[in-house]
Subunit: 409 residues, 2 copies
């Protein structure tokens, strides 16, 4: 290979778990992450869960020497938590916020408030155009009965569509992030199948780190041990994926993960392990047409499987829309009834007031509260139905296209 | 030109004003639109404000013969209102929902509930790849004191960015829609300058229709005459824009608008006029590099102007975030005070109850209501600040890039 023009790119990906007031030893860990990044001198750093802009600013100040270019993606109430640091200039950026991302009333899960998104930065390194995507999908709180699966599948679908539509002029596509999906999950298969992205862990010539490339491991002192009970080795949910689009090849020379603690210290960077890849990018003699237009023949099955899950989510969302609508109507009826009773009393029609004043007022306020909440819920679930339905439709369109021209893609 | 392979494409664009229960003579007009589209046989139909999926289904059934391919974009509570009918197969679609779109509490304006978006459909006609965008931006309710200008500018910016990032493999880009901006407005100049799109009205070799290409005219019986008082000829806010990306040229042979009523009838299609363009698309000998990478030198000024407006919106949003946060804190304090008073009374500390029970309860409910509403508002304005700030940042990045490499683009 020597003598041929080859680009070697070192990438660092980490879900930083930097939630203000909630994450343990946050400031110490953010300092540690900054110090390590300074020492190690990666080319590209993709971070998730940097929720506080102050943490980002501190990292930016510290990394200004070794990573002069950076971008923080803002969205949602708290922020997207996504940021990128780079040794090379960032030419352009774009943020796509997923249309579904959990429920605002699930306060204990909080995903809705984060405005989960995918961020794109475009870079040109040694004349090669890179589209680098960083993302964080909705968390999985209960694997057996995962209420958020339809939302995560919509996100995986939108991620794949966003990558496909925005990467057409790129030579190399990189995706890093916490996808909150195991490697064999339908969402990952959909994403990989539909975009053609390759998994750095599966392709790596050398691997060093947690067994099976896991990124949420019991050895990490910050992980919730009870969640990992069914997976004694841990789970792999953080990824670096890549593909070469035009006349380039990408090879993963080495993949590393941290192993429950940051190198040379006794605390971890985060509750997730960092994923570090060394990629070799090489120009080919002729365009690698083969990597482009031939989708996996099993892709139709994957899309059908994903579509069935989205369909189940759609039925549940319709049910919730109906229930909340019915509740709103009942509350409205109660309010109208009370208004009629009050008017009747005022007009002197009733002999005496049927209820004590206080209870009457309390009931009215309760009905009003229920009306407002139920209406809000109804609107929210209406949006949810629209988005699930839209995704189901798009998947169906894709299935039809796959069946009509299986080889063309 | 004869003998050379030329594609002639006829495009129809209309804001249909089809709001269930609210728009006058909606069903009659939707039938009329369907009949006209059947007779006229356009190649591509871009519609906005088709809010009811039932109207879309009726149109789809009626147009199945002449426009066998169609797509309806779902988003928001009510829907995006956007749909496309086509004589040619739709290969792929993508929806991008704008991150800002008015305020949910401005019920009388209702834009927030529509989930304003841009829809993309990809088509291949005679071997030419078309990226067709259809969109509808936030309405302008008061031109002198336009509270929604920052939001509309964020939308124009996101629209431009979305088109730039997704159209890199396209040969021809078409955009149709109700942009709710006059031709000289900063948002239009930003959109056109940053994407290189050309205005079919300005480029048309032949024009027929309302003076100055206006699409909201006093002659239309459904328009609000008082709104058009400062503009006796009407205003132009509906557009067909286009550009050729690679080795193609696009020319607008003819542009037409309706003139206050549908052809051959006495009622209009909508409160907007339809815009109909005939485009000539021709393959060139060599790539038209010149149309790609040379942005207008005045673009930096336009971006600076837009950024100043977004900055003004950001300051207003920060002020509203602060006010709503303060209101929430005050309501919380009142609730805590009441709780303390109630506990003191229960514990027998106070000699007697300081307030009548009913007023005390009413006050508590009021405080709770204010707390919930103010918290909701605070969250909303926090998101607004994030998005305005993010857009301001991106515009700044672009300005820097324009200044650093003015000729490269």
């Amino acid at each position: 290979m020597e003598g041929e023009p080859t680009l070697r790119l070192r990438i660092f990906n980490l879900n930083c778990w930097a939630i203000r007031y909630l994450s343990k030893r946050r400031q110490q860990r953010v300092r540690l992450i900054g110090d390590t990044l300074c020492q190690e001198g990666f080319d590209l750093v993709l971070l998730q869960e940097v929720w506080s802009e102050q943490d980002y600013s501190e990292l930016k100040a510290k990394l200004a020497g070794s990573y002069p270019f950076s971008h923080y993606f803002r969205s949602g109430v708290i922020g997207s938590g996504l940021c990128v640091f780079s040794r090379f200039p960032i030419l352009d950026t774009l943020l796509y916020q997923y249309s579904l991302n959990g429920y605002p009333y699930m306060l204990q899960h909080g995903d809705w408030f984060c405005g989960k998104s995918v961020g794109l930065v475009v870079m040109k390194i040694s004349g090669i155009i890179f589209n680098v995507y960083v993302t964080h999908l909705h968390a999985e709180y209960c694997r057996d009965k995962d209420a958020y699966l339809p939302h995560r599948l919509v996100q995986a679908w939108e991620l794949a569509q966003f990558i496909r539509h925005t990467s057409k002029a790129a030579d190399v596509v990189l995706l890093g992030g916490d996808l909150n999906m195991h490697p064999e999950d339908v969402g990952i298969r959909l994403l990989r199948g539909w975009t053609g992205l390759q998994d750095a862990f599966a392709e790596a010539m050398r691997f060093e780190g947690c067994k099976n490339g896991c990124t949420l491991v019991p050895d990490n002192c910050f992980t919730d041990k009870s969640e990992l009970l069914p997976f004694p080795l841990g789970i792999r949910i953080d990824y670096i994926l890549y593909k070469a689009i035009s006349s380039f090849t990408v090879k993963c020379e080495e993949l590393k993960t941290t192993t429950g603690r940051a190198p040379g210290t006794d605390i971890p960077f985060s509750d997730h392990e960092a994923v570090m890849a060394t990629l070799h990018i090489q120009r080919q003699g002729q365009p690698a047409g083969a990597t482009l237009g031939t989708p996996d023949p099993a892709l139709a099955d994957v899309v059908a499987e994903a579509r069935a899950e989205v369909g189940a989510g759609l039925r549940a969302a319709r049910q919730q829309r109906y229930s909340s609508g019915r509740m709103a109507v009942l509350a409205l009826l109660l309010l109208l009834l009370q208004a009629a009773a009050a008017l009747a009393t005022l007009a002197g029609l009733g002999a005496e007031q049927p209820f004590p004043k206080l209870s009457f007022c309390l009931l009215a306020f309760l009905a009003l509260g229920v009306l407002i909440l139920a209406t809000g819920l109804h609107l929210f679930h209406t949006m949810e139905v629209k988005m699930l339905h839209g995704t189901e439709d798009q998947m169906w369109m894709m299935l039809r296209a796959l069946q009509e021209r299986p080889s063309e893609g």
